[in-house]
Symmetry: C2
Subunit: 502 residues, 2 copies
């Protein structure tokens, strides 16, 4: 009889574009999200948690920046629900929730949401298919006071998580002003809003690339098109020189103060009703923020901010970190954008037919965490546990008792549960765990009623620098009565934490 | 030309079996998870967060209790990763992670994980397709000290989240003892482990149903089979009366103390090597727990605990809440199981071929939260914000300034951002938001430099009970100088919180 063919073993890998997060990677993110939630809560925003899975119908058939149906999402068909998909952002589920529960929710509805979203896009270095977003939105008010509030909250949030004032700037603009400029430039006809739509799309994307392409590159895109370094050609918007001048003038409209910028913008959109409305809104936002003490060192009007997404209809804003970091090539560069958002008035309408004005911000959690790490504001190591070593397997109950006492005193602690035969392995394990202290009690010590407490951090310092007399004068291992175990461990931990502060 | 057919509007609904969580539903769960994580951390467990999506190959093709491939999971095919699925528990991803990263992880590896899991099962009342799990596992040690530790941790965790001692019991058993009993009963042949597998499956499921079916029902299942109230017939294991006696004796083996129970079990498995090993392990666990002070009011040996899952290989444990709640029909019943787990030694072997012993527990987060809510230990309401009302739209900057001051003092506060025309709507909104206080400043008050502070909680009490002189003597609205706004709001909030404590 033929032997049954052995099944190949499954591969222990994640699907492409997914990853695991260990220890401090999890807890540091959690701590940051907690701090953000605290600010959002203080601003009156309520938590909302939707499921990961939505119907494709409710999500809308495409990502904001993607035209193909279902492109960019993880979608599949279920017998009883039809096509469903993993949410690709927090805004589409919010629109569904508000449409579904609007009679039970307060209006305006301020809500925050934090959690993973999924994008079925090509993964790359640092680009994963599951990542965190942290959003706050106000649904059901057209007042730009809601936009101003979110800008203020964004500023407070960044300071709360540890980005110092001066290391960030929240920049505000208004799509209506941009539409006014488009009107003046002759690529928007108020009586036929769909005319020139393709051209305006190219203009929008060109403005968004000012940082990267510079003025010449953007001008090329506004005009005949642009060939990049690799020889690829991108079609331009076909604007005349005079039309392009209007757009370029808009991007360069930022002045010393908000009031001067507003005045300059008012000149630029002269004759456009929507443009004037947009400038009025910016002026109101600036006044509201000034009244609350948010000066231009925190929040400023900047006409170069457009935000890529097509669905914004009014104020747009983004938070940029202004300190420099080294990129992969060792070049200094500004850290860049960590959050953005704006006003979108049409999302709920898809469901109900009624226009529901809304505005909101999304923080790129992973980028913000990377920034905090670069600033040294993140605990990248979890405090290791005190490790109670096992000298005599038969006396496991004694060791467990020690560890129980330590835990009851609030000290992170564990017994070594591997094979205790090789004591060196136990200390290697403690090292791997970043343990601050090891506890040792052999048979003689048990009889004598004592334990050894080994300072692993001091021990490592002495090993690193054997000439450092300061350390040598302090013993890295002490013998204490068994009933002083907890008190002595507490004292040693305190000494270590005092050392690390100096 | 025919008019284009209008697209029907999308339905604002979740897929079947999914739901939204609002406000306190989110924050109460988060608070409970934070408390659990604190205990897990203190016990030396490290956080791990895996992605929601795994390859079907890595997950294994079926849920523990489901025989059909892919039944019970949400799975779909991706071009670049093949078949993938949403995780249905936290254990299968842990096995994958340990197999993948074992060279970089400490051994033993203590890890905790909390987050949603997904089951493609028929939803029902209170049964959703996405729900939270909160697991802790120790991978890489065969020592039953690891099992004892998890039982102790489970006990500490329940007390930490607010289940008082006496309101829960952690019950421990050992699959090896059960196998010994099977051997004695003649339904396990150590030289041919696969023989009688079907019968043992029926016996296991029968024991698991003791609570529900009683002794007679279980006996029927052990023997010829059982017809239930609806007339459905379940096949029995076909045991003789004498064989069934052995199994029933096992379930009734619990004695006054752990030591007596162990002695009784030792009699029952006399002659079975694996049975004796299992009893030894239970004895060790009992000793270790006793040494740490966990008496039988917290953790006890109970032979009736078998845990349904086929993959357990040694100690099994579960936490049961022993207080009574009213069920849907108004009958008192015990709350029942909120956590369970045990030792499983084969999960990592699927990937590496090496046996890696592991043990772990999973807390049913939603059930535990329901229990805490039943005990009144959960904040089911989010503290509402102080609402600054808008008497004059043109003075929005003044109102925003008030709210900014309150927020800077750490007080949850917001400006009313809806249409301010109807003042009654503003107070209705404040009520809907469970606001403790409303701030009012009309034009005259602005000129006079004062604000009105309205105590909405006191106001509601007075409205509820107009004869309550105690309340009437306290004004529910006070006028204070504008620059005392923050201090007076703080004082009023303190008064409210003092009231609610008495």
């Amino acid at each position: 009889m033929a032997k049954q063919k052995k099944q190949p073993r499954p591969k222990a890998i994640t699907p492409k574009g997914f990853r695991d997060y260990f220890g401090a990677e999890v807890t540091a993110r959690k701590q940051m999200l907690d701090q953000i939630a605290e600010v959002y809560h203080r601003y009156g925003f309520d938590a909302l948690e939707t499921a990961a899975v939505e119907t494709v119908e409710a999500l809308g058939k495409f990502l904001p920046d993607v035209e193909r149906p279902n492109a960019g999402v993880f979608a599949w068909e279920e017998e009883d629900s039809g096509w469903v998909a993993l949410r690709y952002d927090m805004t589409a589920p919010l629109a569904r929730v508000f449409a579904q529960h609007r009679n039970d929710l307060p209006t305006p509805y301020r809500r925050y949401a934090m959690g993973p979203v999924w994008r079925n896009e090509k993964p790359g270095p640092g680009r994963f298919r599951q990542f965190y977003q942290c959003d706050a939105d106000t649904v059901g008010t057209a007042s730009v006071a809601a936009d101003a509030e979110i800008c203020a909250m964004l500023s407070d949030t960044l300071e709360q998580v540890g980005i110092e004032r001066g290391d960030y700037i929240v920049r505000v603009n208004n799509r209506k002003v941009l539409n006014g400029v488009m009107e003046v430039a002759g690529v928007l006809d108020p009586s036929d809003p769909e005319k020139f739509e393709a051209e305006r799309g190219i203009v929008l994307r060109a403005i968004d690339k000012l940082d990267r392409l510079g003025e010449t590159g953007v001008r090329a895109l506004l005009g005949a098109g642009r060939k990049d370094a690799s020889g690829d050609f991108t079609d331009g918007a076909g604007l005349t020189e005079a039309q392009a001048d209007v757009v370029m003038g808009f991007m360069a409209a930022k002045r010393e103060t908000g009031a001067l910028t507003v005045a300059r913008l008012r000149e630029l959109v002269a004759g456009s009703a929507v443009g004037a409305e947009g400038v009025d809104e910016l002026e109101t936002i600036a006044e509201l923020l000034a009244a609350q003490g948010y000066a231009s060192d925190r929040i400023e009007i900047d006409p170069a901010v457009v935000r890529g997404l097509g669905y914004y209809t009014g104020p747009v804003y983004e938070a940029e970190l202004t300190f420099e970091v080294l990129d992969e090539k060792g070049n200094k560069r500004q850290f860049g954008s960590v959050a953005g958002g704006g006003r979108y008035d049409d999302l709920v309408k898809r469901f109900t037919g009624q226009e529901v004005p809304a505005t909101g911000v999304s923080i790129g959690v992973d980028r913000l965490l990377a920034a905090l790490t670069a600033k040294g504001r993140v605990d990248t190591r979890t405090a290791g546990p005190v490790v109670v070593t096992v000298m005599d397997k038969a006396r496991m109950a004694d060791y467990q008792t020690m560890v129980a006492e330590l835990r009851q005193a609030g000290i992170r602690a564990e017994v070594y549960l591997g094979n205790p035969k090789n004591f060196g392995n136990q200390l290697k394990y403690a090292d791997n765990r970043h343990s601050p202290i090891a506890i040792i009690q052999g048979g003689d010590e048990a009889v004598a009623g004592v334990v050894q407490i080994k300072d692993l951090i001091l021990g490592a310092k002495i090993a690193e620098n054997a000439t450092l007399e300061e350390w040598k004068s302090r013993p890295s291992q002490i013998e204490v009565p068994r009933d002083e175990l907890v008190a002595q461990v507490q004292a040693m931990l305190k000494g270590q934490s005092d050392d690390s502060e100096t």
